[in-house]
């Protein structure tokens, strides 16, 4: 059945090559329920996990490894971790189920099954951050910690985010290195509604912060037991939200997206590649030179002379959405923002809680007009209204076919914040409807 699953999966993959590989993965898993246990990986495994940022870190690491001339297989290039992982392995495997590569880079969270973990123990396991309670259940710290415990082997090396106090008690018996950001690497004060953890994971004492980085990260110190931010082996030493340049351990990097969270993710990817290959940061900077964000995360296009920027922001995930909002807020030009929000999956499809953990306050006074569309349009409009937006500056699109006309009446660069599936649909609508 494995051969049939691989054969048909590869055909589906080819026929739907312009789309995501999910259907190929779903087909393989349906035809061969023990699909993963029948595969053999002839290469080393790198695993990237965490509540947020793992896709970006894994994609950057894959780029750098390929730039070094290595054969890399990864699940970070397909949408949907369950079926996307199967789809990536369908493509990479031969008909005997052998996956020949130098490195298998696995992006993982609570959706990754034990069957996938049975492919092998990771050589290096990188953890981007642990969020105690927010966002999708598969990305919460309990789900990620459980995954780390199941995935790591006795020889696994850990790469941890030094700025996350939740990491201090992860598998203390394993060797680890850390990455972080120096003070000044993110000069903007945090506007997030959701703050970092307040109690020490060691003793339950109160954590105090000398600075907060995004939501959950920062320079911390426990007032009871003295646990504090450990030194970072890979340190983001510069990087402002309006400049495309940053530095790791003083070595300059250049990227296509001026956003502080992006720099920290690339610092993590640099740590991963340097540790995996045993190369210095200077070499990683060379490998990273032509790295561009995957269009799934960020893309720009011109439609009838208007600049349209798409940013991946997943509905239901305040961490993901906040980073998009922060990025848009830092752009100085005249702009319109389209927030296309979708309903949460069942059984919590009416759960709008995430909107009130998401800092839409970033947008207030920085975007003249905001257009709300998608299933959650009115909930999003209500949330924006509570930030101080007047009703006349919030346009609600009840019918997607009217979206193009509604956007046509707005000004400036159009920023679209939504998930990848909706983004494709919106771009098609805009192309069909003419100038937005």
């Amino acid at each position: 059945m494995l051969r049939l699953a691989l054969f048909l999966g590869k055909i589906v993959r080819f026929l739907r090559r312009r789309h995501s590989g999910r259907s190929a993965g779903a087909l393989a898993l349906a035809l061969c329920p023990d699909f993963y246990s029948r595969l053999t990986v002839e290469g080393k495994i790198l695993m990237v996990t965490g509540s947020v940022g793992k896709s970006t870190v894994a994609a950057a690491a894959v780029h750098m490894l390929r730039a070094a001339g290595l054969r890399v297989v990864s699940n970070c290039e397909d949408r949907g971790l369950r079926t996307g992982t199967a789809a990536a392995l369908v493509s990479a495997a031969d008909y005997k189920g052998r996956i020949s590569c130098d490195w298998l880079v696995l992006e993982a969270d609570g959706r990754i099954s034990d069957a996938v973990l049975s492919l092998g123990k990771p050589e290096i396991l990188l953890v981007t951050g642990l969020f105690p309670h927010h966002g999708p259940a598969s990305c919460r710290s309990s789900a990620i910690k459980s995954l780390i415990e199941r995935a790591a082997g006795p020889e696994t090396r850990l790469i941890l985010n030094a700025l996350d106090p939740g990491m201090t008690d992860i598998l203390p018996e394993l060797p680890r290195i850390r990455y972080g950001a120096a003070p000044g690497a993110n000069a903007r004060p945090s506007m997030n509604l959701v703050g970092p953890r307040t109690s020490c994971p060691h003793c339950g004492g109160k954590l105090s912060y000398s600075r907060v980085f995004h939501h959950h990260l920062g320079e911390y110190c426990c007032t009871a037991c003295g646990t504090r931010t450990p030194p970072a082996d890979y340190l983001l030493t510069a990087g402002e939200s309006t400049s495309p340049a940053f530095a790791v351990n003083g070595v300059p990097f250049c990227t296509d997206l001026a956003a502080a969270h992006h720099y920290l993710n690339l610092t993590a990817a640099t740590a991963l590649v340097c540790e995996a290959l045993g190369i210095p940061v200077e070499k990683a900077a060379e490998l990273c030179a032509d790295y561009r964000l995957n269009a799934r995360f960020y893309s720009e296009t011109q439609l009838d002379g208007r600049r349209i920027v798409f940013l991946l922001c997943r509905s239901g995930n305040p961490i993901s959405f906040d980073r998009g909002l922060e990025y848009v807020a830092a752009r100085p030009e005249t702009k319109t923002v389209l927030l296309y929000t979708e309903a949460a999956p069942l059984p919590m499809s009416a759960d709008i809680s995430w909107l009130y953990d998401t800092s839409f306050e970033f947008l207030f006074k920085t975007a003249e007009t905001v257009v709300c569309a998608g299933d959650g349009r009115l909930d999003t409009a209500a949330r924006l209204h509570y930030t101080g937006y007047k009703r006349e500056n919030i346009l609600v699109c009840h019918d997607d076919s009217q979206l193009s006309a509604m956007l046509g009446a707005t000004r400036g660069t159009l920023y679209i914040l939504t998930g990848p599936v909706a983004a494709e649909r919106i771009l098609r609508l805009l192309q069909k409807g003419g100038r937005p």
Partner: protein, 237 residues
């Protein structure tokens, strides 16, 4: 006129979008020309409940709930005085345990609440889902909410806040959910309850604003709820 709101244990509780309730209250009170002052209080802080018009606590996982319960348990008399003085308490999600009786954890440990409400709680397997409910004796208006909890409750002798039409009550198979006593509104519905249910927001704002209350006009909240109810109706057909 200034309305004072006391936000309890913000670093432990209110991790499920519960801030939405404060945003909604503040926004409505401002629209009525009232000042709204929100003060936070945490473990070990003085909590002069009677000095506040509304006391609010939001949902938390057990790790956040337990220290808050331990801090709240000895404050029964101050809480009772505030309740008797008609102060409004709004407790969403697991925060309802703060004013309840004992919480029995899975390992048999018993954690005491402030015992202002005659209810007891038990740690059980996780339940998630949506609730559609009415208010007992208050007409056919539907109230919407979600729950994500590891607790069930016996509150047979208290007046319920909601009667479920769909979704779980205080425990599996129970049709009643929450407690409505004096001006205490306690429910397992988590997150921005007042945004989801503008009728409840208006009820609280009317109590807080007194003679200065004016009904509000169009609102996105109300439109969102109407859209959701229409979708539910369509699904039913």
């Amino acid at each position: 006129m200034s309305i004072r709101i006391l936000l309890l244990y913000p670093e432990h509780m209110g991790l499920s979008g519960d801030k939405g309730n404060i945003f909604a209250l503040r926004h409505r009170l401002h629209a009525l020309g009232l000042r709204c002052e929100v003060t936070s209080a945490s473990v070990g802080d003085a909590m002069p409940f009677r000095e506040y018009d509304l006391i609010y606590a939001g949902n938390a996982p057990l790790s956040g709930l337990l220290p808050a319960m331990a801090d709240m348990a000895p404050r029964t008399e101050a809480l009772r005085a505030a309740m008797d003085a008609g102060r409004i308490f709004l407790l969403t999600g697991s925060a309802r345990c703060l004013l309840g009786g004992d919480l029995t954890l899975r390992d048999g440990t018993v954690v005491h609440g402030a015992r202002l409400l005659a209810e007891s709680h038990r740690e059980v397997n996780r339940f998630t889902g949506e609730i559609i409910a009415t208010r007992p004796g208050l007409g056919r208006t539907l109230y919407l909410g979600c729950y994500d909890r590891v607790l069930e409750t016996d509150a047979a002798s208290e007046r319920p806040l909601f009667q479920t039409v769909r979704g779980m009550g205080d425990k599996p198979a129970a049709i009643y959910e929450g407690v409505f006593k004096n001006n205490i509104y306690a429910t397992y519905m988590l997150g921005p309850l007042l945004v989801r249910n503008p009728e409840l927001l208006e009820e609280l704002v009317e109590k807080l604003a007194g003679g200065q209350y004016r009904p509000r006009g169009e609102s996105f909240d109300a439109e969102a709820k109407a859209l959701r109810l229409a979708a539910l109706e369509k699904k039913k057909r």
